[in-house]
């Protein structure tokens, strides 16, 4: 394998992992606050169709991305509506949202099936992108990917290094105690649910604006569900979430390359890898001890109701 091919592969792997990373970041942010929203697939699809449709109509990628964020936040707000005032079961609500999103996006997108969009152009950083092997992968990507990295950095710092992040973790661990200490649990959970869904919507928009600039039904092909698993695999830590997402992207490209090189590992076995890794992580997590700081937020998926 020559160096140009390897550089191309790294470049492709980073692109492949980014929609997943964005969605996983959204899941992370929400789950840290104790909000378990299983509707990621539907939200991501709605983000994808919205981004594509608005970009096509307005001619602006930025407008499309912003619209996708807004639609994602709206879907998050819908989830909040169902689980907070209406007190519906969060698991059922999330699944309903996933199905709703899938159906609605097919309806909205039916007029856009044969349309092609000019994808978001690569913004190569002049001298750095010429570096061998990593130059193209790290410094010749599109602006939305750089934005995703910036968001990841911001979220990571906030969650792990600021007081706000600590309070958020408290809300996710034990909302009763946080509430008694004066933290406004419900508004915080609502805000994080919306923010998380907005990030997922942006992940969907990355697919339809930069990755494959077209609209096709079932465009996300299960990435929303994979993101949910990725966050578990990564133990609810930002750095690990990013690593897991990009590893997933890397493995999917590697799978294709291995076929070409004649290594006869069944592609089905290779595509099983992320899920097997998740299972292994879950088994490891369920035994406490060394991994105790990587377990789920204590109140994940439980509705919190103010008493009195």
């Amino acid at each position: 394998m020559d160096i140009h091919l390897a550089a191309d592969l790294l470049h492709a792997a980073l692109r492949a992992g980014t929609p997943l990373a964005l969605c996983a970041l959204g899941v992370l942010v929400a789950e840290r606050a104790g909000v378990l929203n299983l509707g990621q697939e539907g939200i991501m699809l709605m983000g994808a169709v919205t981004g594509f449709a608005i970009s096509l109509e307005t001619g602006s990628h930025a407008a499309g991305a912003l619209a996708a964020i807004a639609v994602g936040a709206l879907m998050g707000a819908l989830f909040v509506l169902l689980t907070l005032p209406l007190r519906a079961n969060p698991v059922a609500s999330g699944l309903a949202l996933a199905v709703f999103g899938s159906g609605l996006c097919a309806f909205v997108g039916s007029g856009y099936v044969g349309s092609s969009l000019q994808g978001i152009a690569v913004a190569a950083i002049p001298w750095l992108s010429e570096l061998p092997l990593v130059g193209k992968a790290l410094f010749a990507q599109d602006p939305l990917l750089y934005a995703a990295w910036a968001l990841a950095l911001g979220i990571g710092l906030t969650l792990h290094r600021t007081r706000f992040g600590l309070v958020l973790s408290a809300v996710g661990e034990d909302p009763e105690v946080a509430h008694r200490l004066g933290v406004r649990v419900l508004p915080m959970r609502a805000a994080m649910a919306c923010l998380g869904a907005a990030l997922t919507g942006l992940g969907g928009a990355y697919l339809s604006l930069a990755y494959t600039p077209l609209w096709t039904e079932d465009m996300t092909s299960g990435r929303g569900w994979i993101a949910l698993a990725m966050v578990v695999l990564a133990g609810w830590r930002t750095g690990s979430v990013l690593l897991a997402s990009y590893l997933f992207g890397f493995f999917s490209i590697l799978n294709l390359l291995m076929q070409d090189m004649g290594w006869s590992v069944s592609p089905n076995l290779l595509s099983m890898t992320p899920y097997v890794l998740c299972l292994a992580a879950l088994i490891a997590l369920s035994s406490q001890g060394r991994f105790s700081d990587r377990r789920a937020p204590g109140a994940l998926g439980q509705n919190f109701h103010k008493e009195g």
Binding site: D8, Y211, M219, S221
Partner: protein
């Protein structure tokens, strides 16, 4: 009060019952005519009001712009062609397996008289359900199982593939042709082999390289595979998947693309070579007409260039005129019978001879073709 209801005409005097016989001496003849007319209408109305109910079942959503869309385009034209004689419905996203059986059973029970299952994955479901409903006509596309009320139909898309491969062989400069494949079912393998034979006929140095992505509809995977093929120096990329992502990826890398199933040129405005489009109308028209005329029998119906069922559409602007002319020449040879796509000797990837020198391949062998020609890179996944 009666008087307030608009009394422009005075009501009849007392004995209204006898009015008609007083006024009309031709009453018996008129009555007879009325009865006859009513009788004719009564017979006629049920005949006219009972269009043939035809249902279409698709595996993938229409909203992916590929195989299913090609069927739906034909269905629209069918409705226009037959007018009130048929009434069509269609269902997409019917997955192979349990879902297929459930949906087909429901359609048969609800009065559908002719059901087309348009995906290879529907084969076993269609076979099972057709045995339970012997009065309903079942047709299955792209498969090989048949029954007393189960026919099959397929387009000889391999002829279109051969012609497109011929064009690819002429335009390639690196002599590497990339193929994004989904699953190694006979239709896909036939297409790959035909494309390769066409390319080699035009350019003996041309090599085909396949990457299998094990999915019909993941646009991202299609793109990744196409980009990898481009990185591996392929300068013509084609696909056998639902989405246009491979064509779009080829365009962004500045290499030729060959679309499949529908016209994909919108996704490659500059560097498109050609698209191989499926035209299902001749097959559907003939099968439905046979059923309407009461002469339907279970047949394996294969239609190719002779009825324009496989079309070359969306020729790219940068394609040299000479290439187009040479391809059309080959098409003429196919039409006249001077050229048959699968002509021996043919050897598979393991070195076994599959077709003797000078022999041509029979339809049964074409239907079950699951072996790739020797010299194609990228073995089929087991």
């Amino acid at each position: 009060m009666l008087s307030e209801l608009g009394n422009t005409s005075k009501p009849e005097p007392s004995n209204r019952r006898g009015v008609s016989s007083q006024r009309d001496s031709n009453a018996p003849a008129k009555r007879a005519r009325g009865v006859l007319l009513a009788g004719l209408l009564l017979i006629h109305v049920p005949l006219a009001a009972q269009p043939l109910k035809v249902a279409f079942v698709h595996e993938n959503p229409v909203g992916q712009g590929g195989w299913t869309l090609s069927h739906e385009l034909a269905r629209e034209k069918l409705q226009a062609h037959f007018g009130d004689a048929i009434e069509t419905t269609a269902l997409d996203k019917v997955a192979p397996g349990g879902d297929t059986e459930r949906v087909l059973t429901k359609l048969a029970r609800s009065g559908q008289q002719m059901i087309f299952a348009t995906s290879f994955g529907h084969m076993s479901g269609a076979a099972r359900v057709s045995r339970r409903f012997p009065d309903v006509v079942f047709e299955h596309a792209a498969g090989y199982t048949m029954g007393p009320n189960l026919g099959t139909y397929q387009i000889r898309a391999y002829q279109g593939r051969y012609l497109a491969g011929f064009a690819a062989g002429l335009v390639t400069e690196t002599n590497r042709l990339g193929y994004v494949g989904a699953f190694p079912i006979p239709e896909v393998v036939r297409g790959i082999n035909a494309f390769t034979l066409g390319a080699r006929a035009a350019n003996p140095q041309a090599e085909v390289e396949i990457i299998w992505i094990s999915t019909w509809s993941d646009a991202g995977r299609s793109r990744e595979a196409a980009e990898l093929l481009a990185s591996l120096q392929a300068d013509v990329i084609t696909h056998h998947t639902e989405t246009s992502a491979a064509v779009q990826a080829a365009e962004q890398r500045g290499v030729w693309s060959v679309g499949y199933q529908t016209d994909r040129s919108a996704f490659a405005p500059k560097h498109h070579l050609v698209s191989i489009a499926h035209n299902w109308l001749p097959i559907y028209r003939d099968k439905i007409q046979a059923r309407l005329d009461g002469r339907w029998t279970a047949q394996a119906k294969w239609v190719g260039v002779e009825q324009d069922a496989t079309q070359l559409v969306g020729w790219g602007g940068q394609v040299p005129q000479e290439v187009r002319e040479r391809v059309l020449e080959q098409r003429q040879r196919l039409l006249s019978g001077a050229l048959r796509v699968f002509t021996g000797p043919l050897f598979d990837a393991q070195g076994r001879q599959r077709l003797a020198e000078g022999a041509t391949m029979a339809d049964e062998d074409l239907l079950r073709m699951e072996w790739l020609l020797a010299g194609i890179g990228g073995d089929a996944p087991r």
